[in-house]
């Protein structure tokens, strides 16, 4: 293993197609541990596929990913993906492995403006779109991953809540490797040191 592979997530020659459509073509990049990178690009250029490959949810047709094997990875999916049978508190507590799970979950939800008992005890079907998004953010942060993958993190949030969430995400991801994909610039990525622009291989 080369020196850089011990210090970074390294993507080497990734290629991925869905049927006839090629979304990644010999894509290579490295993300040093502890760095913050925003990946921008138009819809359909393969940003989400890239995150899924890093998270191990999608296998590339060819190419390799190193530097993720022994790491905890938090993923904030583009969709909220909350468990419908769990309350907001339960959804967040479900990913916490140690300690006082409910207390930690309630604290994080509180920071995101969902600290009322009514909100904590609400099921996803009883939450608004913005509240569901904040709950999903809380879950991703509560897992305390070494690598945090954010897919359109602030999608669907109003300005105030987006700013509040961006601040909480910044606090929780200090010293962590963060890769955030977005097709619209948000305040979250303002102080990210790396920006990567993706284009569709077909363009």
């Amino acid at each position: 293993m080369s020196e850089i592979e011990n210090k970074a997530i390294v993507l080497n020659g990734l290629t991925k197609s869905y049927g006839e459509k090629r979304v990644l073509d010999n894509f290579s990049a490295s993300f040093p541990y502890g760095s913050k990178t925003v990946i921008k690009g138009v819809s359909g250029c393969g940003k989400t596929t890239l995150l899924r490959i890093i998270a191990g949810l999608t296998l590339p047709d060819s190419g390799t990913v190193t530097g993720t094997a022994d790491k905890k990875i938090s993923v904030l999916f583009q969709e909220d993906r909350l468990f419908p049978t769990l309350t907001a508190l339960g959804n967040v507590a479900a990913v916490i492995q140690d300690g006082n799970r409910k207390k930690i979950a309630a604290d994080i939800l509180g920071m995101l403006g969902l600290g009322d008992k009514k909100d904590l005890d609400s099921y996803p079907s009883q939450l608004s779109g913005g509240m569901k998004r904040r709950c999903a953010i809380a879950r991703a942060l509560a897992y305390d991953g070494d690598i945090v993958l954010l897919d359109e993190a602030l999608k669907g949030l109003d300005r105030d809540n987006a700013e509040k969430c961006a601040q909480v995400i910044r606090t929780f991801t200090e010293n962590k490797t963060v890769i955030s994909v977005t097709h619209l610039a948000t305040s979250l990525e303002d102080d990210f040191e790396n920006t990567l622009i993706m284009t569709s291989p077909e363009i």
């Binding site: 419908p84 769990l86 339960g90």
Partner: protein
Amino acid sequence: MRLTDKPNGAGSQAQTLTKNGKTPRLPKPVIAVISAAATFAVWIIIWQIAYANIGVSFIFPSPYQVLVELFRLIPEKKFIISVTGSMLRVICGYLTGIAVALAAAFASHFFLPLKIFFSPFVKVVRATPAASFILICVLWMPSNAVPVFIAFLMVFPIVYENTLTGLSETSVNLREVAAVYRFSRIKKLTLLYIPSIAPYFASACTTSLGLAWKAGISAEVLCVTRDSVGYYIYISKQYFETAQLFAWTVAIIVVSVLLEFAIKKSVAALQRAVRRKYVGN
């Protein structure tokens, strides 16, 4: 706000409506009971008219004759023993069927060769008349074991297929969440799979109970299982005790309704308990 307290506006509108002869509607449960009683009464009248036209008690007894026979049977020791025996046999087969079908469905979902293995068995069991199985089984096992096995056979394919359907409809998105956050097997079971199969499983449990009960009693009749409802139905038929045969049938229907009610309540309680214990925080 009580409308009738107000002298004007909506209150007087409500009073006017009452004066015009429109009475407040009865509560829904009361309407349901009245409706059920009326429907029951109509069918009893149709039964009585049919009896009056046929006029031969040993071919078609009257509702009154059946009721008298039923009340004559109920205090008898053989009634309690046979009803309890039949229930135990059917419930034994039913619960075994549910347990085996659940295990088989989970195993088949995660191991495709097992799904292929079970597929013809399930199709054959669903397509074969219960009577064929009963007559075959009576050659192979004691008569009091046949109803148990037949109840099992009625339950297995329904619970197996419904559970498989529920498992196949587990959300892919949530499965990915579980994978990313490294959920334990028990957490996956309780958060992903149990909620996904719950409605299918509950429906299968109630549907298959009726089938198990009917097929179980049929097995008792054809196998002449001692100390069973089926046995006394067989005896009643042999001696042209038609009113008694009807009375046993009424008893079967009543037990079936009670069992279905109990199973529905048990399944609902189980769902609540699972939610409280595993997913209700």
